[in-house]
């Protein structure tokens, strides 16, 4: 599975998409969830939006990992739209022959999604204020 969309994400669906691979002995799963605070301020909601090239960019991150690790199966999905506390924003699942490479590849993919995939996040605080995360440094 690879994609960005407004539909709620399912850990079970993503896990199923990488788990039926006889050559994989380790599956690393990262789940990013909306948290109730940021730097000491209470957060009520996050609004994610993305540039039209987002899926191309996500695919590049995944293909780079495939070229560097013995990946047997991989999924990376990111949600956009308005998400409440506890909702899943992103899931990365990587199946490799062994656990070390599965952890490393999964870590690389989620880190590069944060750094290079054109997704933006606006967070609304409990005091009614809101801001774009990271936009002004």
């Amino acid at each position: 599975m690879l994609g960005v969309g407004e539909t709620p994400l399912s850990v079970a669906d993503v896990y199923a998409s990488v788990s039926d691979v006889p050559s994989a002995g380790g599956i690393a799963l990262f789940v990013g969830v909306v948290r109730n605070e940021d730097e000491g301020r209470g957060v009520t909601e996050l609004g994610y939006s993305a540039h039209p090239t987002v899926e191309t960019s996500l695919r590049e991150v995944v293909e780079k990992a495939i070229s560097q690790y013995p990946i047997q199966a991989i999924s990376a999905v990111h949600r956009i739209g308005d998400l409440k506390i506890g909702e899943i924003a992103v899931i990365v699942a990587v199946a490799c022959p062994k656990r070390g490479e599965a952890f490393d590849a999964c870590r690389q993919v989620i880190d590069q999604i944060k750094d290079t995939v054109p997704i933006w996040k606006r967070q609304r605080f409990t005091d009614g204020d809101s801001e774009w995360v990271g936009a002004e440094g």
């Binding site: 939006s49 540039h51 989620i110 944060k114 995939v117 054109p118 997704i119 936009a135 002004e136």
Partner: protein, 86 residues
């Protein structure tokens, strides 16, 4: 001198106060200077711009060396604020 359109995304759109505008410029650096000049004193806009990346006609122009990016006429510049996925 090319007439180009600057498109602002996300935080850049909010800070600019608009989704797009037209400027006459030779290079990407000139276009961005003109956009900043139109908003003298708007520190939020300058801060967002300083952390943005840019597309010119859909091609990444990198974070630096905007002086060396020559703009074709009718080019579309896209201002992409710092990414915050995950």
């Amino acid at each position: 001198m090319a007439t180009v359109t600057i498109h602002y995304w996300a935080a850049a759109k909010d800070a600019a106060g608009m989704a797009e505008e037209s400027v006459n410029a030779e290079t990407l650096a000139d276009a961005l200077d003109l956009a900043r000049g139109r908003r003298a004193g708007n520190q939020s806009f300058a801060a967002v711009l300083s952390r943005s990346s840019f597309l010119v006609n859909g091609i990444q122009a990198g974070h630096n060396a905007a002086e060396s990016v020559i703009l074709p006429d009718a080019a579309d510049i896209e201002v992409l604020p710092a990414f915050a996925g995950g």
